[in-house]
């Protein structure tokens, strides 16, 4: 059997080389199919890698606590996190490295500077955030404890906000208006670029205490907490936070939480799920195109069997069995598909690299080994599937009649 396969392989390669152009055109469907699989997978994987990298800086030891809007109008009241919640967590949760609030403020006129406007959400934060977020000032400084204590009207902005407001390159010392209040710019953050379609430079930070002082007491602006703990104790800390918040919010046993506690790992996983779905969907589309390519191969193989009827007759006269002929044509189809797959692999790899290079801030494309094997495996499968019919047709030919075939 191995002998037969080897011989068929040899003769398949010979016959493909003898009809190089036709073979190439025949397997074009496979080439294009595999090339698109590899391109898409490499880009999605590249995206995934760059997302993972971004999360790396966030660390696997942080928790994001936010109101769960799926529980909106919870028991007849709004769903929100308050400063009291924060104080309760700080007081009662053991094993917490730090917890820092972020309150999102917006004003009807937005943020303005000499008639220029930015619609950025101004966030009230504590200095911890800059450490947690790995964000540092390029010019001026970040927010400091003194700002918090003095409820200072100071602001640190990202470069996008600076550009939107047409502030000078060094905006430190300029004054901007937010609602009724004036803020002095004390720092410009380093440029971070885009992440998941979000402009990380479109930010404006003010001290948390200042934010509280300028919002009316009855309003409950959108607030989230970022917490950090030892990775080993993260689950325990999460349990405690949950207990504390349930108690603060007076949630009856058996009722659902009106807040969500997510670890960055969880968020990362849900993004991975999305990229996984993209890969599968594209894979499905491309799989269909591979099937179409396979039908093309079957067509040409059927023509080729007819064209080579006489040759098949000769081989039978020389002692070829049905199995010999069957195997020869089947392996020819498989080799054709496999070669197409290999060419497609190279093309897709190159294309992925080219596209990745055209996207700024994009990690070079990564083609995982499983995608390579999947693509080649699928092409082989297509070869077997669509080679069967022509091969069976060839094997069934009657020796005398095929020898007479002109």
């Amino acid at each position: 059997m191995i002998f037969l396969i080897l011989e068929s392989f040899r003769s398949a390669l010979h016959s493909i080389r003898a009809n190089a152009l036709r073979s190439f055109l025949t397997s074009l469907g496979i080439i294009i199919g595999v090339a698109s699989i590899i391109t898409v997978v490499s880009l999605v994987q590249g995206l995934q890698a760059s997302i993972d990298q971004q999360f790396e800086s966030l660390g696997s030891n942080s928790l994001i606590i936010q109101p769960d809007f799926n529980q909106q109008e919870y028991e007849g009241r709004d769903v929100y996190l308050s400063e009291d919640d924060l104080l309760a967590i700080r007081k009662r949760v053991v094993g917490l490295d730090s917890v820092t609030p972020q309150v999102f403020l917006s004003a009807a006129q937005g943020l303005t500077y000499r008639g220029n406007r930015s619609s950025v959400d101004v966030r009230g934060v504590e200095p911890d955030l800059f450490v947690l977020d790995d964000t540092f000032a390029d010019r001026g400084r970040e927010l400091i404890a003194a700002d918090l204590i003095g409820r200072s009207r100071v602001m640190v902005i990202g470069d996008k906000v600076r550009r939107d407001l047409k502030l000078p390159n060094d905006p430190v010392g300029e004054f901007v208006q937010f609602g009724l209040d004036w803020f002095k710019i004390v720092g410009l953050l380093e440029i971070k670029g885009n992440f998941l379609g979000q402009d990380l430079d479109n930010v404006a930070y003010i001290p948390f205490t200042t934010a509280n002082s300028i919002t009316p007491t009855h309003a409950n602006p959108f607030m989230i907490f970022l917490a950090k703990a030892d990775p080993d104790e993260l689950d325990w800390v999460r349990q405690q936070i949950r207990q504390v918040l349930r108690k603060e919010h007076k949630i009856q046993p058996g009722k659902p939480d009106d807040f969500k506690i997510e670890s960055s790992e969880q968020i990362q996983q849900s993004i991975a799920q999305v990229t996984g779905i993209i890969t599968v969907v594209f894979g499905g589309i491309v799989g269909i195109s591979l099937l179409v390519g396979g039908i093309g191969i079957m067509n040409i193989m059927l023509v080729s069997v007819t064209e080579r009827t006489r040759e098949i007759g000769i081989c039978k006269a020389l002692g070829a069995t049905r199995a010999d002929i069957m195997l020869q044509f089947l392996i020819e189809a498989v080799v054709l598909c496999l070669l197409g797959g290999l060419i497609g692999l190279a093309a897709g790899f190159g294309l992925g690299k080219v596209i990745a290079n055209m996207i700024p801030n994009f990690t070079p494309a990564v083609v995982p080994l499983w995608a390579v094997f999947l693509a080649l495996g699928f092409s082989t499968g297509v070869g077997v599937l669509f080679g069967l019919l022509p091969a069976a047709k060839a094997a069934r030919l009657d020796p005398i009649e095929s020898l007479r075939y002109e």
Binding site: I314, C315, A317, L318
Partner: protein, 229 residues
Amino acid sequence: MSLIELKNVGRVYHMGGETLHALRDINLGIEQNEYVAFIGASGSGKSTLMNILGCLDSPSSGEYWLDGSRVSGMSGKELARVRNREIGFIFQSFNLLPRVSALKNVMQPLIYAKVGLRERTRRAQAMLEQVGLGERMHHQPNELSGGQRQRVAIARALVTQPSILLADEPTGNLDSKTSLDIMTLFKRLHEEGQTIIMVTHETDIAAYCERQIQLHDGHVATDSREAPA
């Protein structure tokens, strides 16, 4: 028992209601190392008989015994084996594989005999040298003359060392000088012990054979042995 034994062999073709008896009631025995020519008018059934002898076709009635085993009734796989090991077939139109060198053509039947590449090459080269084509074995059929092509076909037929060499008008497409060369080659093979059965309608070619069987309308008309010319 003879090497070849035909018992009441008949072959009919059904063509839209009509039945055509290409062969009827053939009884024949051919011994080891005989040199036989089938002669007869066009349409007398010579090729039909050769195809049956070569296991390319099967008789509609009667029995074909080859070397003690009954061929009629064999499975496709067994027939392929007989074609491969017992029979070397030579055609009027050469029937070489196109786009493949002379050497590869001669190696082809050895693939089906499951002979390894090295041994295959060695045997094919030796065979091509025997038929005087040692120099041209890497040429493709379309780069060879008719006589050279027929030599390749002969080498291919003989490379598996078959018990019978069957040739259907082997000189039919060749000029008289080249035909003579081929007949000389056949004569030598016969002297070396090869059983040869051929079809021809040229009497001077038939004269090379020890035994001439004339077919007429699907019957054996005459069966004569004479000293070779």
